[in-house]
Symmetry: C2
Subunit: 642 residues, 2 copies
């Protein structure tokens, strides 16, 4: 063992997949002293997750990377169903449009997890020097929970060991083709080690975030039970370049043949992912997973797709898995948190894994960051469990229902006489699809009442729900006229936001209401903003009004939304107009309709740093708004001193 080192960090993140990188993103944006370690030598380059739902891409927009996903990903608008017809011939049986229950600037995209991680890593680099330390494994954890006082600032002690190249290279199935990495991923292939191989470093941390996957080392250290079981389903998944005359190979397809079910997912470039059931011909209990080769998958697909031809020569990645439907009994012990697959495992076939994991980290990261910085009460961290553990349960339930559907299909087929066609379930599948769409697309998150979510009247914003996402709409910048989706202008930079939905500022009464609100907001902001910081550094106030773009001026709005800075001048980024822009066909001036807000009288909406709605009220309800922030944020200048 090489010489030991010791160091301190506020937040240690173990695992740099979608969950860990989401946490790391917040550390970078909020300027937290943090470290991220991952036992693999390089980031993932191929395979693993690949489905991005629209809410995930909306969040990427708030991080400035959505455009890269949309450029590189594949986009399927329809799910096709195939099944044998009356004569036993495999035929298209219909299709369902993938729509989203509520409007979103983005639709589902299929893109390799490695590329998604590239974009998040670039967003991290854009705002900090935080880098993932690769080839580093956490080996021991001690957590001094007893005297949780101010003297014990770094209660967590973790030993990190630098791995050799051999130890850090993950297992890879034989048969995978050599495919060059993308240009901007090539830097990641160069081995970099902070310490020599074998070095054990002792790290003391205030928070530890375990994003270390289904076999989470962190979870095991905490002795948190991982409940559930492996199902009988054994699947193969293969990313390859197909050679086939099956006509829908580039369409998302659920295919039921007499020889099994095949799920076809077209991907970026000419890659297609196939989910291949393996256990059908064998009795599942005795199925030998390790005996599966790439040819096993190839031959299964050939049989399922028959009489269509099928083969491939280029394989990007493949693996075999047994669906483990498991849920961690809790998501943390004190300041040690779990996120992502460490909390929930399920079938990858619904394309939710990367989304829920990323959103776990996205939910947790800013809370940890604001607690570390002393901006927010540490009690906000309790909402991580209430919000995400519940969602993890829903995910497992959903997976059970969805997988049962696939299973039922297969069992039915096995049960019936092979000379007759399996029953057509595409209508039922389509209906399940519609029913669960808000959940799967991430458009409903079901965050319950908490210090971060005030469930009060919704009369002033009929289509908005506290604890849910702020419904995206296109608005125009008042100062410049540029149209933008709200997902982009509500940047994920670690700040809470007060949105003044200012209504029609041409009306004198309304202007007075907003002006009066503005004065009170300045006082509110001062209570939570450190004396030498800018007044928008903890809570940013933005306004969106309904007057036609050229009929009001920036100066009609209170100073809180066009602050002055000695060097930067006035801030032109905070006032927006819900009006038409002939340049952008989707910018029709319907944002208030989307939100269900009165175009004259407006409303106030408080958003958490992750763009979820924390509080809603009338323009006059500064008392309610203040109460909300008092429960969430540390007061730095008591009201009495202002």
């Amino acid at each position: 063992m090489a010489a030991s080192a010791e160091s301190y960090t506020d937040v240690l993140i173990v695992g740099a997949g979608p969950a860990g990188l989401a946490v790391a993103y917040w550390m970078a944006r909020c300027g937290i002293n943090a470290r991220v370690v991952d036992k693999r030598d390089t980031k993932i380059l191929r395979g693993h997750a690949d489905g991005l739902r629209s809410r995930t891409i909306e969040l990427f927009d708030s991080m400035g990377i959505a455009h890269r996903v949309m450029q590189e990903g594949d986009h399927s608008a329809e799910l096709m169903y195939w099944r044998p017809n009356d004569k036993g011939e495999l035929k298209r049986a219909g299709n369902t449009g993938f729509s989203s229950g509520t409007a979103s600037p983005y639709k589902m995209a299929m893109l390799s997890q490695g590329r998604v991680e590239r974009f998040i890593l670039d967003a991290i680099k854009d705002s900090s020097d935080l880098e993932v330390e690769r080839g580093v494994v956490a080996e021991s954890l001690s957590y001094d929970q007893s005297p949780e006082d101010h003297g014990q600032k770094y209660p967590i002690t973790v030993k990190l060991r630098t791995l050799s190249e051999e130890e850090a290279t993950p297992f890879s199935h034989p048969g995978i083709s050599k495919v060059p990495a993308a240009r901007d991923d090539q830097q990641d292939l160069i081995q970099k080690r902070k310490h020599p191989v074998g070095t054990v470093e002792t790290v003391r941390a205030k928070y530890l975030i375990g994003c270390d996957g289904a076999h989470s080392w962190t979870r095991k250290q905490l002795n948190i039970p991982f409940e559930g079981s492996n199902t009988d389903h054994i699947w193969g998944v293969v990313d390859m370049v197909p050679i086939t005359d099956f006509p829908d190979i580039r369409r998302t397809t659920s295919l039921d043949s007499r020889n099994g079910h095949l799920l076809i997912i077209p991907r970026e470039g000419n890659v297609v992912r196939l989910y291949v059931p393996l256990q059908e011909d064998e009795v599942s209990a005795t199925f030998d997973r390790s005996a599966v080769t790439l040819d096993t998958l190839r031959n299964r697909v050939k049989k399922i797709l028959s009489p269509f031809s099928f083969d491939f020569k280029i394989c990007h990645w493949w693996t075999v898995y047994q669906v483990g439907r498991r849920l961690a009994q809790s998501v943390n012990k004190g300041r040690v948190y779990l996120a992502g697959d460490a909390v929930h495992t399920h079938s990858p076939k619904v394309g939710l894994g990367m989304n829920v994991s990323f959103q776990d980290g996205f939910n947790l990261g800013w809370k940890v960051a604001l607690a570390v910085r002393g901006v927010a009460h540490p009690s906000i961290l309790d909402t991580y469990a209430s919000e995400r553990h519940q969602l993890a349960k829903m995910l497992i339930d959903f997976d059970r229902r969805w997988s049962a559907f696939f299973l039922q299909e297969e069992q039915k087929q096995k049960a019936v006489d092979t000379s007759s066609a399996p029953e057509d379930n595409s209508a039922a599948m389509s209906s399940l699809f519609r029913e669960t769409e808000l959940f799967t697309e991430g458009h409903a998150s079901f965050y319950g009442k908490s210090c971060l979510v005030h469930k009060g009247s919704t009369a002033m914003a009929k289509h908005l729900v506290a604890g849910e996402r702020f419904l995206p709409a296109i608005v125009r910048n008042q100062a410049g006229g540029r149209p933008s989706w709200t997902t982009r202008l509500l940047e994920s930079d670690g700040r809470f936001r007060i949105l003044i939905l200012a209504g029609d500022m041409r009306l004198k009464d309304q202007k007075n209401r907003v002006s009066s609100l503005g004065e009170k907001l300045t006082e509110l902001l001062m209570r939570f903003t450190p004396p030498k910081s800018k007044l928008d550094s903890i809570i940013e106030v933005k306004a969106i009004h309904t007057a036609p773009w050229l009929e009001v001026e920036l100066s009609d709005f209170p100073p809180a939304v066009h602050q002055f800075d000695e060097e930067q001048g006035w801030d032109y980024s905070k006032v927006w107009s819900d009006s038409k822009c002939f340049w952008e066909p989707q910018c029709v001036g319907n944002a208030y309709e989307v939100w269900g807000v009165d175009k004259s009288r407006g409303a106030i909406v408080a958003l958490r740093p992750d763009q979820y709605i924390g509080w809603m009220g009338e323009i006059e309800d500064v008392a309610g708004l203040t109460q909300y922030f008092e429960r969430v944020l540390q007061e730095v200048r008591p009201r009495s001193l202002l």
Copy 2:
């Protein structure tokens, strides 16, 4: 002088601005042995050009970088006019919407030249190892034009000298603030030299492309006259972060006050560019340009904008220039070509410079590349002069007209009694704007008849014009359903394209017509494709049909548009459908209407590698199409041998 080296390259590009990088892009995409040198130590980071017109961004789309421009750039939809009212108070006098005469996926974007160069450099890196050699100056040129035979393969000899840091650092005006470079530009700040300082390398080249700016060294070596004159206009331009109560500082604004004309161009982030006239108060002939300081500009703007306040503390860049309206008498001598500012200089105020320069390089690069590769007849290079020299003339004429308009404004104001308001010319300006829009946006290029542009009947595609851009539209991929603008799917990869506008493939007759065309096209492709190359490596055939997406199959189309490859399988990228996609509001199935093509019968359009229309005809007119390619491409397998 350090030790001399000698080397050979097919194409030497001098200057790595927008024109040089456009040429370099084609070298990279076409796999040409090329070098690019630039005398500056680093690429431009701030200042210089900043206006991108929609056609330029369409071409960027074909290079895969448009999304980055749209994400980072600023977008103004309206041009605002300000002038004194009857009482002499400076007021808004109206506005013109920046629209584009024909539909484009993109609108004008304002973004620093340095960022635009970053994106082109990244596109170059994505397909080759070609890197700009910085801090290298060309010092002598000899060109052996006499025996233009095959024995003389490298007729051009250039000596390149590696500069010291001092020599390679461009002059920078005092007063510019330290602003950090973007994350992905920081690598460019590191000094890299291929050779030690002072090394003189002798390079022998087949082609030399001088993209070395208004003071072009290359142009001087060729003794090509640069005709025109400096005008009396002396302007300052400053990129700064404004501190002002002028309400339209973030709107593109043409402002006429009694104290002069100000052009305001909002830019990315919080930067605003101002064009400031300097010569008004002084008699121009005696104006001392070198005496201008940043404060001179600051004070001029204060005076013009008065009674509004104005100042700035952060200055990104500034300079002073005297408008030189000049045109090179020719754009080449033999194999030595000029592009960009080396050919034309004019006022930057119309925001065309970077666009015309980039498009010069974009027009020239693929012609040189295909001539070097022996794919095309070298005679296609003559069209560079006929196409771009003519456009340069039009540019100079346009600039004269447009600048006269600004000048006239000012002269009027000086002539009239200062107590009365200057005449309102915003309507006239607006009208000039509309009249010249097709030209300024790059939607009309006026490329005349040549071997590359066949001007025949337009009956089969009423809105398309040979020599003009292929009008952009959104279509859906037949194999996968993904909607895409044609600007993206017609990738700039160095290939000619035959677009089969296949009409309604549900109709038996039409299917027969297309099928018969397909057979003949395969024969055509074989004549121009080297025996061991893929059949789509020189000319790619794509099809766009009008049947609803799910009512035809890929297999209905001829093999030329879904080629088979032993490793890659069938090609799914070549057949597209002009039909609706509920996912994409702009995908309405109107492409054939945009092109003026009959939805049943279709047409054929041949596109040059730069997406300009080379030839159009009926589905049966393979003879005409063949004739077109015979004039352009080298036959590698004569028809008689097929």
